[in-house]
Point group: C2
Chain length 217, copies 2
DNA sequence: CTTGATTCCGAAACAGTGTTCCGAATAGCA
DNA sequence: TGCTATTCGGAACACTGTTTCGGAATCAAG
């Protein structure tokens, strides 16, 4: 029987797409090499030829996830309100996590113990971080936020990640209203608190609480 | 040969302890039933007799993690500064995550796809949440924070979780100074922002950004 | 068109998991 | 002392990741 397609053109994409589909449809536990190969209408060794390893496949899924998230960010358009734009980015992040929950798990809370993120993997996340840093910088230039842009961006991203994690785990409550209320409360409070530069942050903290280097165990 | 110990007294504890040790020493990927049984100096079926399932074993590890975290919280003593006390709780949480990183991963970012948290599992986390709610309530009564205590507690916990996740992933930077700076910045800003009740949170957000029910995909 | 080398896929084989079955040894009780 | 019930141990299954090898399809040359 004739080979259905060409030699090795879009096979890699087909396998990657199949892996993402299985991940989204059946969860992380169902992502086996056999299933991926079957879904991509190819064989197991082909997967190994293309990705070397299952960890390699997962790594590519990881990259693809950040590409897709970055693609969503690029679709957002700017207005003249930097704070609203920043919140729109957060909302986009939130909806991405909601709609691709398993993929987000791979990206942010590594359900695969065999994925050992190296510098290269961390680099993939830098575009997302840089995007947020850019929006934060706009806010700072507009006087809506203060302090260092990178620091603030990390805080914002951490808050978004933590909230997304809690939402996915069902810890933020069952009703949509309470979940939304807590998202709003969190970002409004944090952005309000960041309106002015933290004046004596180091002093205040060292004085008032042990959030410094290594608290005694 | 005589059996070394009694029949079934501390065997369950021994197995659980062995699982925790393997988890801490060799990572989540090394937590196999065979290894646990060998480390506990028992047999594989004994593990299944005691926990029914590997998921059951992991679930007990999960519970034990929250028990230990709660134990740390109980060791903290109150001062007359509610805000400092709340920050001390956060610092304790942070050090717990740092010192038990793999266990924290099991508790908060489920690396085990086969652990399907039901209401019972969620209940185990409620003591931790209630503890934080209590501290937040003290802050509210002292006028240091405003708004609803439960809402604020969720925000605080989400922020702590997000920061811990980013710290564990190495996203907060490599130098201790920058990591600490970002923790301090985050909590100072958020707590400052929560000093007064968010006056028109709903209105402001609905007006200024799409952080509400379901943003269009 | 035939033929050959090359490249790739497919089935089967290995090691290591989670899980279970059955025999055997032990503890408690009469 | 003997019985019984319970629990532990070794060995067996099904399924995973991973590799190896044989064969088929592809392209180029004669």
């Amino acid at each position: 029987m004739p080979r259905p397609k060409q030699r090795t053109p879009a096979l890699r994409d087909r396998v990657l797409r199949a892996a993402l589909a299985i991940l989204a449809d059946e969860g992380a536990g169902a992502l086996t090499t056999r299933k991926v190969a079957a879904a991509a209408a190819t064989s197991i060794p082909a997967v190994y030829e293309l990705f070397g390893d299952k960890a390699g496949l997962v790594r590519e899924v990881y990259f693809e996830g950040f590409r897709r998230l970055g693609g969503r960010f690029d679709e957002l358009d700017h207005t003249d309100d930097p704070r609203a734009d920043l919140l729109a980015v957060i909302a986009s992040y939130r909806s991405f996590v909601r709609e691709n929950s398993v993929l987000a798990g791979v990206m942010f809370s590594r359900p695969f113990a065999d994925l050992d993120p190296s510098a290269k993997e961390l680099g993939a996340t830098s575009t997302v971080r840089k995007f947020i840093v850019g929006h934060v910088r706009r806010c700072i230039e507009a006087g809506v936020l203060a302090s260092d842009a990178t620091d603030v961006a990390h805080v914002v991203l951490a808050l978004a990640q933590g909230l997304a994690l809690q939402e996915a785990a069902g810890w933020l409550g069952t009703s949509k209203a309470s979940v939304n209320r807590r998202w709003m409360l969190a970002f409004n409070a944090t952005l309000d608190g960041l309106r002015e530069a933290q004046p004596d942050a180091r002093q205040r903290l060292v004085r008032s609480s042990p959030l410094h280097p290594c608290a005694p165990r």
